[in-house]
């Protein structure tokens, strides 16, 4: 391995400069301290690094093993669990890639500080705690000669090589723009029930300990670097490289990016009673005209989240505008929007209409994740809804307030050449996952203010910690004053299918001139939730019944002076998880035919034009 310049060692032993940190003191004791130095060999896409990790055992039990996540090995070949999961989902991200497009990370040395003669690598071995995939090399177990006792610390020194892939997920390089995340051997989280160091899976994030990161990055000079934390020093090495030193306290990850092409813009958000937030935007040159738009979006998002949740956790934020992929077959899928401490990755396209929800949607989503997935850092593998769904739900509340009625659905045609806004198809924040829909259901059952209190109380408890579902439930129970057992059950099985339907309505006139009405409502899904059923009669009166939803069907009987003209299950649309809302209602005089006529006619006109287009060539 190439030795790092002496300046690194000098930098690392110098007294610590002021580090960028959370707005408030870390909620939990700092468990790790990383001192890393890394050199990027840009032409060969290689990172060579060395580091020192001081780790404290935060549990009540001794441990004789350390576990490291080696994320980039997920992209070493097609056998990793990440690749297998992608294939199961019908995606083939490694298809057509050369070896140079793949990624890997190898530890070249690992020893307890002061015992450099005794390598820990000899006993190190890859394990697959999540799925027993013997070919997966993303979790390295390292046996120790002596256990680390509760509250005691150990310091290890290590060196590694990593190859930067063409983008997979959230890391990689296109041309000369490198986005580097989960890039070093990252120690997992030891809790009282054991190690939580997961293999890399799609749509999850590394689960790391909070602590201090002191990182020296050597890149070609004069490339721009953006990273977690504050830049405390920049030294020209005289060999065509420069070393940038970044320090961050109280964070659980460190990500960085570098490119000679970035255009830099800055902005500042001033807040009464809190420190200013410095925004630093690293833009692709062709997106320069969007600089104000992107900074404005982040500013709006932060302001709304602060109104709804809490002060933004950081006093500085680097916003990375990655290379936009126009040909995923050749370029890879590109860098996905993501959030890391003090650094977020957005997404935009060249020639993006003002009414398109990018970049605002991606940036606002990631600002939310700075609260709910980064500063509050749940285990994304064990509790995916807590990592993604809470932020997703928060996004559904923030977007309409930050950008009221601005966006419409935009499709891109001709390989992305033409962006076409469908002005009469409003863009909606999708509550994309089941967890967000369940939280939406909880939200619909309480007032807006109460839900705001739920989210802010949860964040207050979770910030700087590793929250569990219990953290959220406790916050929700305290804010709503309800036991929320249904919600707790739903969060254990968020994939539950909730579907209620009006099965039959029958009105018959009795001998006495009254009308007997029978309404049958049914539960078609496996999810059980109490629900209101409203029956409206021709004389304008209505009855609202509460149904616990436990039986597969319920029959409601009425004797009235007039027949039923409408039945509505969940009339106030409280059940956001209800996937099939159409069968929730029944009208005596429906207008389904008119709607069917209207839309089939519209389709027919489109089809006729399509015939014309194809007939042009005959």
């Amino acid at each position: 391995m190439r030795r790092p310049p002496a300046i690194f060692l000098l930098l690392l032993v110098l007294a610590s400069p002021g580090a960028a940190a959370r707005q408030a003191e870390p909620a939990s004791p700092q468990t790790v301290q990383y001192a890393l130095e890394a050199r990027l060999d840009a032409p060969n896409r290689l990172i060579t690094g060395r580091g020192r990790l001081a780790w404290r055992n935060p549990t009540l039990h001794p441990t004789s093993e350390l576990r490291f996540q080696m994320a980039w090995n997920a992209w070493r070949d097609g056998h990793s669990s990440w690749m297998r999961d992608q294939r199961v989902a019908g995606a083939f991200p490694a298809e057509g890639r050369t070896d140079d497009d793949m990624g890997f990370i190898d530890l070249t040395s690992l020893a307890v500080t002061g015992q450099t003669g005794t390598s820990l690598l000899a006993g190190a071995h890859y394990i697959a705690p999540d799925d027993r995939n013997g070919d997966d090399r993303t979790v390295l177990a390292v046996p120790l000669a002596a256990p680390v006792m509760p509250g005691a610390s150990i310091e290890v020194e290590f060196a590694w090589n990593a190859h930067v892939p063409r983008p997979f997920d959230r890391a990689g390089v296109i041309d000369r723009t490198f986005v580097i995340t989960n890039w070093f051997p990252q120690i997992g989280v030891l809790q009282d029930d054991g190690w939580h160091c997961h293999q890399l899976h799609p749509n999850t994030r590394a689960f790391n300990e909070f602590g201090r990161y002191d990182v020296a990055l050597t890149v070609p000079e004069p490339w721009t670097v953006g990273a977690t934390g504050a830049e405390s020093a920049r030294v020209s090495n005289g060999d065509g490289t420069a070393t940038h030193r970044y320090v961050a306290d109280g964070v659980q990850d460190f990500a960085w990016t570098t490119s000679p092409d970035y255009v830099e813009r800055t902005d500042r958000i001033t807040r009464p009673g809190h420190a200013d937030i410095t925004l630093r935007l690293l833009l692709q040159p062709e997106h320069v005209e969007q600089a104000d738009r992107q900074l404005g979006a982040v500013r709006s998002a932060i302001q709304v989240y602060e109104r709804q949740i809490a002060p933004f956790p950081w006093t500085r934020l680097t916003i990375v505008d990655p290379v936009a992929v126009i040909n995923s077959r050749a370029q890879g899928n590109g860098i996905a929007a993501a959030a890391y401490p003090m650094l977020l990755i957005g997404y935009t396209r060249w020639l993006t209409p003002w009414t398109a929800a990018i970049p605002e949607g991606a940036l606002t989503d990631q600002v939310g994740r700075e609260f709910f997935a980064v500063d509050a850092a749940p285990d994304a593998f064990d509790h995916p809804w807590l990592d993604g769904s809470v932020a997703r739900f928060a996004l559904t509340r923030v977007m309409p307030e930050a950008f009221p009625q601005r966006f419409v659905t935009v499709n891109r045609y001709f390989g992305g050449l033409v962006a076409w806004p469908y002005a009469d198809v409003p863009w909606q924040v999708g509550e994309a996952d089941a967890g967000a829909l369940w939280i939406g259901t909880l939200s619909a059952s309480v007032t807006e203010d109460t839900m705001t209190r739920v989210l802010s109380a949860y964040y207050a408890q979770a910030a700087g910690r590793h929250p569990t579902p219990g953290t959220f439930l406790a916050a929700a129970r305290a804010a709503t004053g309800q036991d929320l057992d249904w919600f707790a059950e739903a969060m254990r099985r968020p994939e539950l299918n909730v579907d209620y339907a009006v099965r039959a309505v029958l009105s018959t006139i009795t001998d006495s001139g009254n009308v007997d009405t029978t309404v049958v409502v049914a539960r078609l899904g496996s999810g059980v939730l109490p629900v209101d059923v409203r029956v409206t009669f021709a004389d304008g009166s209505n009855v609202v019944e509460r149904w616990d939803g436990k039986d597969e069907a319920r029959t409601l009987n009425y004797r009235r002076g007039s027949p039923a003209v409408a039945v509505d299950i969940d009339p106030d649309h409280l059940l956001r998880v209800e996937r099939r809302r159409t069968n929730n209602s029944w009208l005596a005089h429906p207008s389904g035919s008119r709607a069917a006529d209207k839309w089939s006619l519209r389709w027919m006109m489109w089809f006729q034009h399509m015939l014309m287009t194809y007939a042009f060539f005959v």
Partner: protein, 336 residues
């Protein structure tokens, strides 16, 4: 003495004039499109009506596009209904169709069958339409269909040859251009605009090749009708020679017609109905544009006929005699 060169603009104008004077042909094609599209639309209508049932949702979606309902409908949609998305709305639908065509995206099987049926019937009608446009005067309905019958199998043989060329273009050239070449050009590209410019050029090459094949096929059909040629291959070769010898004027005429179609599309962009437009206005605007497109297509054909006649024949000349619908054998027998 050398024949004077035909004015392209004159042929263009005369072509559009001839098309305008053949309203029956225009509305016959419109009727044909209704006949092809209506059964599929009826199928879609049934699926929508069945999905809505007696639901209150129907009230909501008659007012405009409802994304939540559309997503729910899409989960169970099959066949033609799977193409029912917001991309059928307004001018976006026009763009989407063209984009899918150039990107060779497959369509649902049911729709593909309907498109194939339409193309076959259009091919049948082409002989009669070209003859009508060549003569520049109305012909009896029986004569029109008799002419269609006369040329159908010649055009069918021609379509097999031309179809094979189109198939080869989409089977090999299109994937090579928009696959291999585009991949090569974009692999390490950090500038989106450069990639899109490259893609634009590749589309340009693809469209130019398709247009060239289309032009030769058009001229071959024109020549087959005007000169009453029987051999499809000979007609295609004659079409090729005709275009080769006066390439720039043919290309200019073709481009002029394309510009006409683009102008119509631009007008459509202006008046394309929104999702909440009243049904009658949407129908009126959509059908008006459809009639304009049919007229433009007929004018396209007519201008090529006029150009050909002016170059090699004379105005309104068609070599084949007007076919006469045969009397019935019983009439023959009676000496009627």
């Amino acid at each position: 003495m050398a024949r004077p060169r035909t004015a392209v603009l004159g042929a263009f104008a005369e072509g559009w004039r001839r098309a305008l004077r053949a309203p029956l042909v225009t509305f016959s094609v419109l009727l044909l499109m209704w006949l092809i599209a209506l059964p599929l639309a009826a199928g879609l209508r049934d699926q929508i009506a069945q999905q809505l049932g007696a639901s209150r949702t129907a009230d909501r979606i008659t007012g405009g596009w409802d994304t939540a309902w559309a997503a729910e409908f899409a989960t169970d949609a099959h066949g033609v209904a799977s193409s029912f998305t917001h991309e059928v709305l307004g001018f976006g639908g026009t763009l989407a169709t063209l984009s899918w065509l150039l990107d060779a995206q497959p369509m649902p099987r049911t729709m593909g069958t309907a498109v194939a049926a339409y193309l076959l019937i259009w091919l049948f009608l082409s002989g009669g339409v070209l003859d009508r446009l060549a003569r520049a005067r109305p012909v009896a309905t029986s004569t029109f269909f008799a002419t269609c019958g006369v040329f159908f199998f010649r055009f069918l043989r021609m379509a097999i040859v031309v179809g094979a060329i189109y198939w080869a273009v989409f089977r090999w050239l299109q994937p090579w251009l928009l696959g291999t070449v585009f991949d090569w050009g974009t692999r390490n590209l950090a500038n989106e605009h450069q990639g899109l410019v490259l893609r634009g050029w590749l589309y340009g090459i693809l469209v130019a090749i398709l247009a060239f094949v289309n032009l030769i096929a058009d001229m071959a059909k024109v020549r087959a009708v005007v000169e009453d040629r029987h051999s499809a291959v000979a007609s295609l070769l004659a079409g090729w020679r005709f275009v080769r010898r006066r390439f720039w004027r043919c290309a200019t005429l073709y481009l002029l017609n394309i510009v006409g179609i683009v102008v119509l599309a631009r007008l459509w962009l202006q008046v394309a109905p929104s999702a909440d437009e009243p049904d009658w206005r949407a129908l009126l605007a959509g059908q008006a544009y459809l009639v304009a497109r049919i007229w433009a297509r007929l004018a396209f054909m007519a201008s090529e006929v006029v150009f050909f006649q002016a170059e090699l024949a004379h105005a309104q000349f068609a070599a084949a005699p007007e076919p006469v619908w045969p009397d019935s054998p019983s009439a023959d027998g009676a000496g009627a």
